[in-house]
């Protein structure tokens, strides 16, 4: 699997896109999606809700487990991916593309996220 260079990563296995016009996109990594197995349910924060970096903002259920979703960034939710709510398997088939989870109006740029190489090293350690 290849970890995209243009994203930043949390140790809780979320990715964060570059901020464009104040808004960034969040999803979970391919590593996390593979570890979960088939995702069958995603619970996402509501549009307009405020999320805080490092805090729980939703959950993902797979066949064998349920996992908490942490926001890698602080800000206000501007959009959620309704396609992934309707078809959670998108998280497995395209974690970095069609399986994105939500968009945030960033209130504060995080400083503790990992680059692709750092994240790969983290997951392989």
């Amino acid at each position: 699997m290849s970890t995209p260079d243009n994203l930043r990563y949390s140790k809780e296995h979320e990715w964060l896109s570059a901020t464009v016009d104040g808004v960034a996109t969040v999803g979970i990594t391919e590593h996390a999606a593979n570890a979960l197995g088939d995702v069958v349910f995603v619970d996402l924060p509501q549009v307009g809700a405020t999320v805080s970096a490092g805090e729980v903002c939703g959950e993902l259920e797979s066949t064998k487990s349920v996992s908490e979703l942490y926001s890698p960034v602080s800000g206000e939710i501007t959009e959620i991916n309704q396609d992934v709510v309707d078809a959670p398997a998108l998280v497995n088939s395209g974690p970095y593309e069609s399986g994105w989870l939500f968009k945030v109006r960033v209130s504060e740029e995080p400083t503790d996220l990992l680059g692709a190489d750092e994240y790969d090293a983290f997951t392989q350690s």
Partner: protein, 392 residues
């Protein structure tokens, strides 16, 4: 993202593997790794959980065929003129009455009636039986059987390392296996077995499984396991046979309403608690066979015939959150009436399902209940088991 429930927790087995000991590897371990399986420790073994999508594997078994490595299961052979009588004493079933070439689902119970394991016993000869135990319980089944059959005219052999166990399950299983053997599969009934050769490999061929589908379990010498696996893979390619892991095996058995030791069955439950009182044969022999647990089980039978306390039922979720083992079952307004023992998203039904013990008064099909899923009461409906029955 952090996992609240690890991938193997939900398949807890009651007896964790000995701390510090490396997991054992089946004779097919290298095959699984080559196939890129997700491998996890289970009952002291490194086992393939899934090769790709467990949902796809599940649906393949329902619609076509799946190939399983079940070599972790524990085999014990009893031979001798007293083998049947010894098993009548040691187990709750009536094994001496089993015809040669037939199999029976049965249980090993403690003196207090609690279930120590559920087993399948195959009668492979006049004076020969093969007992198959769950991997997690194999050690204690072996120890219990050894002590219980002492004094009978039988010899007990630990055959755990004598076999690899490969299962081919699904509607296409008979056609696929038929290409590799001259054995008369058409005449082999469900829960029957025969000795034969599959792809040149000597095998005990049994029409058994744990998926709710037609299928076969093949007990073969470990050194031949890879050859057999490859031959089945090739023979099944056109039928859409896929390798299938333990993850889908769990959802397949759950849909089929089959209990799993450590979940629906424990040493604190009797066969009657689990609605499986029929496996206890008080009428074995002349009706006075002294089998282990008899007195306690007779009391349990009487209690079950009176006012049943709890019933094992099926639950179907109205929503999309998944009820998991250990979650509380409540009335719609939150009074606790039971506990989930197994739960998963059902690929066949397209919604989450569970098995649960609930107070009998809330166990009627159609009853509306809730499951406390991490603090939220999620509506569920009680249904009769099984959730799925194959078309015949």
């Amino acid at each position: 993202m952090t996992s609240e429930q690890g991938s193997t927790n939900d398949m807890r087995d009651g007896t964790p593997p000995t701390a510090g000991s490396a997991p054992r590897r089946t004779p097919l371990d290298a095959v699984h790794r080559r196939l890129g399986a997700t491998i996890a420790p289970f009952a002291g073994w490194d086992m393939p959980l899934r090769y790709g999508s467990e949902r796809e594997e599940h649906l393949a078994v329902r619609q076509r065929a799946g190939l399983f490595d079940l070599s972790h299961m524990g085999e014990i052979t009893l031979t001798g003129p007293g083998a049947g009588a010894a098993l009548d004493h040691a187990l709750v079933g009536y094994l001496s009455a089993l015809a040669v070439g037939r199999a029976r689902y049965t249980m090993l119970c403690a003196e207090d009636g609690g279930i120590l394991d559920d087993l399948i016993v195959y009668r492979t000869g006049d004076e020969e039986f093969l007992v198959v135990a769950n991997a997690a319980n194999a050690e204690r089944v072996l120890a219990e059987l050894r002590s219980r059959v002492a004094g009978y005219a039988t010899e007990l052999r630990d055959d755990r390392d004598a076999y690899a166990l490969v299962a081919v399950q699904g509607p296409a299983a008979a056609g696929i296996l038929g290409r590799l053997t001259d054995a008369p599969l058409a005449g082999l009934r469900y829960y029957a077995c025969l000795s034969g050769t599959v792809a040149g490999v000597p095998a005990l061929i049994a029409r058994t499984g744990y998926t709710g589908e037609d299928g076969f379990e093949l007990f073969v010498p470990p050194g031949d396991a890879e050859r057999l696996w490859d031959a089945l893979t090739d023979a099944g390619a056109d039928d859409g046979l896929v390798p299938a892991g333990l993850s889908c095996r769990d959802t397949l058995r759950l849909e089929a309403g089959m209990p799993l030791y450590g979940h629906e069955l424990t040493d604190a439950t009797t066969p009657f608690d689990a609605g499986l009182g029929r496996v206890v044969r008080f009428d074995k022999g002349t009706g006075d066979v002294r089998f282990v647990g008899r007195e306690a089980l007779a009391r349990a039978a009487e209690a079950a015939a009176g006012t049943p306390g709890r019933a094992l039922v099926g639950l179907v979720a109205e929503g999309r959150r998944v009820p998991r083992a250990g979650y509380r079952v409540t009335t719609p307004d939150g009074t606790v009436v039971g506990e989930v023992t197994s739960g998963a998203p059902s690929p066949t039904l397209g919604r989450p399902i569970a098995m649960a013990y609930v107070d009998a008064e809330h166990g009627e099909p159609g009853t509306e209940v809730a499951v406390d899923i991490r603090g939220g009461l999620e509506p569920h409906r009680v249904v009769a088991l099984p959730f799925y029955q194959r078309p015949r």
